[in-house]
Symmetry: C2
Subunit: 189 residues, 2 copies
């Protein structure tokens, strides 16, 4: 989407190690007008898919998922990062590997928040290696929920997450696909 690429060009900052900072408009300070544009674009793409819930992972996905859920007229659910290792029969639980912290963390969703009657749109701010998204897919699988698609604000297409998900048959709709951050420059596909 042109509007997303334009905003990244204008306000994104490239840091060492392939990090694209968008914390002035997308995941710390948030331009909710931009998020509404993202939500409308996702509605246009997935509007006929029968979505019953928009699901994301805390914390940076929540703003995007909230406004997207409102656009679809359905509830939003965010998976919580869990500190406790309790085996609770009333939650779906998965593990996500964090490259940033080089460790696994647990994510949980209450069993009453997701079921086999649901068609889920998964959303997140970034898609890079796809670890978080695979945790969410695992939880949808445990719940017996169908996945209608995956909506992403910024896909780093030089990392394998997006291609892997598409190879698995998921409809991944990314607002912007960044193919390179080399030499401090953002290049789009």
């Amino acid at each position: 989407m042109e509007f997303m690429e334009e905003r990244i060009r204008k306000d994104g900052r490239v840091k060492e190690g392939g990090v694209l900072k968008v914390d002035t408009f997308l995941n710390h300070q948030i331009d909710v007008k931009l998020v509404r544009q993202i939500a409308k674009a996702l509605k246009e793409h997935f509007g006929d898919a029968g979505v019953t819930k928009v699901v994301t992972i805390e914390a940076s996905g929540i703003a995007i998922a909230s406004i997207t859920a409102e656009e679809f007229g359905v509830p939003m659910v965010f998976a919580k990062k869990s500190k406790s290792k309790n085996l609770d029969a009333n939650v779906y639980r998965s593990q996500v590997y964090s490259y940033t912290y080089d460790r696994f963390y647990d994510i949980v969703v209450n069993a009453n928040a997701l079921g086999e009657e649901d068609k889920v749109l998964l959303v997140d701010d970034f898609l890079a290696n796809g670890q978080a998204m695979h945790g969410l897919l695992d939880i949808c699988d445990q719940a017996g929920a169908e996945v209608a698609g995956i909506g992403i604000c910024i896909e780093k297409s030089f990392q394998p997450g997006g291609q892997t998900l598409r190879d698995e048959g998921y409809d991944v709709c990314s607002m912007a696909k960044v193919k390179s951050l080399e030499n401090g420059q953002v290049e789009f596909e």
Copy 2:
């Protein structure tokens, strides 16, 4: 607000130890229509206060803050829980005591996200002892930002946070004030 009390009566669950669970509609699975009602009520109360930013703390405040920010036509900022103790000149940092985990955690806001030109509406899902809110107030103070007011979904008025903030002169607008959770029953003020 009647709509909030009604929803808590219908879908809230009282757990041992004075815990009110609202995770089917407010802070895990989220009814975004309800959140829009909350946002409109906050706009009605604080609409003339010249709000330039809506600020909250991750994670449960983000959905409410996002939709409220859209209602006000201003950006949203959420304070991040910080694991690193780095002294970074480019962030405002405060400490919040968590009764749940009996420990302090750090919250941070980027210095470029908040400044003395800002009039801030602080929002959160719950107000109990007011620890998180005082952390956010500390950060506004460091930034030189003015606090226009505090918007809360559920105030536990049997705990001291709300009274303390009002004694300090803040305009605290709570959608529902719970005065007791004894015997598993929700009583409103």
